[in-house]
């Protein structure tokens, strides 16, 4: 159809807000690449320049600006740039000045995952506690309580690495206290109206509980019949969850799956060490942990995975292949330092193994 050149070709000649969201979605997809996030960083750099610093004071684009900044910081960390962590720290401080509403809460809830990743455990925990208080309904509250349990668990790992055993136990107990009501909510939801979403949320909450149990076995003071039985139950739970989540249609993210595989791996390592397990069980545990570590690609990684794989290598390979232990420690330090900082407990613990 021939057209007069002067006629408009769009009904939305200045849809800046929607255009920026479309570009953000492009960046969001590009940063899912586990092998290369440079293109994502490039798009995000253009986008944040466009949105400009003044975006923080325009309520319409403040959250989008914050989300773009969040993704940019995380992407830089994944590229090994320490600047990424500084961006996230700065973003957290700026976000406390934004007006509180549902959009901010959803953003903060996402940000807390990376605050925990970069070692700002206290900030992740206190922010999530506030978010639970502002949750609009039971499901959101349950999701945030599940998150809070996970942040306590991550802080317990930091305490374990820093040899603060009592603090580690305390955080693991707090994680258990938070995860139980979340499990109850999702279980009731799933019985009332089972959907893939309720199943997914229930599986994730159960995985956090199993992970807390497995983490206990790393802290001095672990032992006794009750804890041993709980560990066996946690392993069974992980097997069941993996069987369900690996069967299509797959709803879990790859990180959720590989962390469950890693937890099952360290279960094998510690069970073999504590209970005269077989050499095959050690090899199995090491294989699972190595698979989990490799599968995380370039993602921000939970430090427990590095610590537990190091433990597995020390048990399995220290005698006949000490270079494997050292090479892995160096690789893990290289990866965790931009993410958590060089003085983070897990990084220090890895360095001590050299």
């Amino acid at each position: 159809m021939p057209r007069a050149r002067s006629l408009p070709e769009t009904l939305r000649p200045a849809a800046n807000y929607e255009w920026a969201f479309g570009a953000y979605y492009r960046a969001h997809v590009l940063q899912k690449n586990r092998a290369d996030v440079e293109p994502a960083a490039y798009v995000l750099k253009i986008l944040r320049d466009k949105l400009g610093d003044e975006g923080y004071f325009d309520p319409d684009i403040a959250i989008l600006r914050a989300r773009a900044e969040h993704l940019y910081g995380r992407t830089l960390i994944r590229l090994g740039a320490r600047e990424g962590r500084d961006i996230l720290v700065d973003l957290y401080q700026k976000s406390t000045r934004l007006p509180v509403d549902g959009r901010l809460d959803r953003f903060l809830s996402d940000l807390c995952g990376d605050l925990s990743n970069i070692g700002l455990h206290h900030e992740a925990i206190t922010t999530t506690e506030s978010l639970i208080g502002r949750a609009p309904d039971n499901d959101v509250r349950a999701r945030r309580r599940g998150n809070l349990a996970a942040w306590y668990l991550q802080r317990a790992v930091a305490h374990r690495a820093g040899r603060r055993d009592a603090a580690a136990w305390s955080d693991l107990d707090a994680a258990d206290r938070e995860i139980e009501p979340a499990i109850q909510t999702w279980d009731e939801d799933d019985k009332r109206r089972p959907t893939r979403t309720t199943r997914l949320q229930l599986r994730e909450a159960l995985a956090v509980r199993a992970s807390v149990t497995v983490e206990r076995s790393a802290v001095p003071g672990y032992g006794g019949e009750e804890q041993t039985r709980a560990m066996l139950d946690a392993a069974d739970e992980l097997r069941r969850l993996l069987a369900e989540s690996l069967t299509p249609p797959r709803d879990e993210t790859y990180l959720q799956v590989v962390y469950r595989i890693g937890r099952l791996g360290i279960y094998h390592i510690r069970t073999a060490a504590h209970r005269d397990g077989t050499f095959a069980q050690l090899k199995r545990g090491r294989a699972y942990l190595e698979h989990a570590w490799r599968s995380t690609g370039n993602a921000c990684v939970r430090p427990w995975l590095a610590l537990d794989l190091l433990e597995a290598l020390e048990v399995c390979a220290a005698a006949d292949d000490p270079a494997a232990v050292r090479d892995f420690a160096l690789e893990a330090i290289d990866r965790l330092t931009p993410q958590c900082g060089s003085d983070y407990e897990a990084v220090t613990a890895l360095a001590e193994s050299l």
Binding site: L11, T197, R250, H291
Partner: protein
């Protein structure tokens, strides 16, 4: 800012560019924009109602006379008459053709209301697609990431930005369980596919197929209470089955790591009791026999 890093409108995405129009119609944008906003208002009024209630209610409120009344009550009188006169008398029929609704029984008396819902949804959706397309141009990639960008943008729009309008638009393209593709989705997917599908006919057919599947997926997701991520996964799986996407590449770069991952997954499958399948079992039997022979 360099031109290649700018946002730009994509005329191909806008259906009104395919509709015959008077070259002297200077008030065109206003005449097309106002009905879209009024329909969005109607949909906002129905927010929170399940679609099997909201859809008939929207159709009823957008039938001929009530829609004129809505325009008159919600807009300044002078504008509403002009907008209504320009739009509903001269634009609905060409739009109905452009959206392909003539595939439905012309005696179906909801067609006009369906056109209005689709027009409002287009007004809402297209700028998000334009933003995604601009960013694809900033940093082009392989088919997998580009097409996933398309699906992600559609799903985010449908779940986060205009969920009510998105599901009513999908319902508008469906009668008696039979759906049609939606032109804005088709055009969007075609532009996304352009660098990866050089054959025009095949590209158009693929875009049409993906558009149709998207409509069905959005409706199903709404009925099942599914999340945005499930919709994207469903669309990716469908694109793979159509051959639009190559199988997902392994991210492990070296062969040793790839093989180690695959063997570990087999080991895990044994532990968690997942069946490997007969063909995999046969290969494992051969491997076992080979290893026994080598050791013996």
């Amino acid at each position: 800012m360099a031109a290649e890093q700018s946002f730009a409108c994509e005329p191909a995405l806008w259906t009104f560019n395919d509709v015959p129009r008077n070259r002297f119609d200077r008030s065109m944008v206003e005449a097309w924009k106002r009905p879209a906003l009024v329909v969005a208002d109607v949909v906002a009024d129905l927010a929170g109602k399940p679609p099997d209630i909201a859809f008939p209610a929207a159709l009823k409120r957008l039938s001929r006379k009530p829609f004129r009344e809505l325009l008159q009550t919600r807009l300044s009188p002078g504008h509403s008459e002009k907008a209504e006169g320009t739009f509903t008398k001269r634009r609905v029929t060409p739009l109905r053709l452009a959206y392909g609704l003539d595939a439905f029984d012309p005696r179906e008396d909801s067609l006009r209301a369906r056109v209005l819902l689709l027009h409002a949804a287009e007004y809402s959706f297209v700028p998000f697609a334009e933003g995604a397309l601009a960013a694809i141009k900033w940093s082009p990639s392989i088919a997998r990431w580009d097409i996933r960008t398309g699906f992600h943008t559609v799903a985010r729009w449908a779940f986060d930005h205009d969920p009510g309008l998105a599901v009513l638009a999908a319902a508008s393209l469906t009668i008696d369980g039979s759906s049609l593709p939606w032109r804005p989705f088709t055009q969007f997917y075609e532009l996304v596919l352009r660098p990866h599908r050089l054959d025009d006919d095949r590209r158009r057919a693929d875009a049409d197929g993906l558009s149709l599947h998207t409509i069905g997926t959005l409706l199903d997701a709404n009925r099942a209470g599914s999340r945005q991520g499930e919709v994207v996964r469903n669309l990716m799986t469908h694109a793979e089955s159509l051959g639009v996407l190559p199988p997902r590449p392994r991210f492990e770069r070296d062969e040793h790591a790839r093989r180690q991952s695959e063997l570990t997954r087999i080991l895990l499958d044994f532990e968690i009791g997942r069946a490997l399948g007969d063909s995999a079992d046969d290969i494992l039997d051969v491997i076992e026999a080979e290893r026994a022979g080598a050791e013996g």
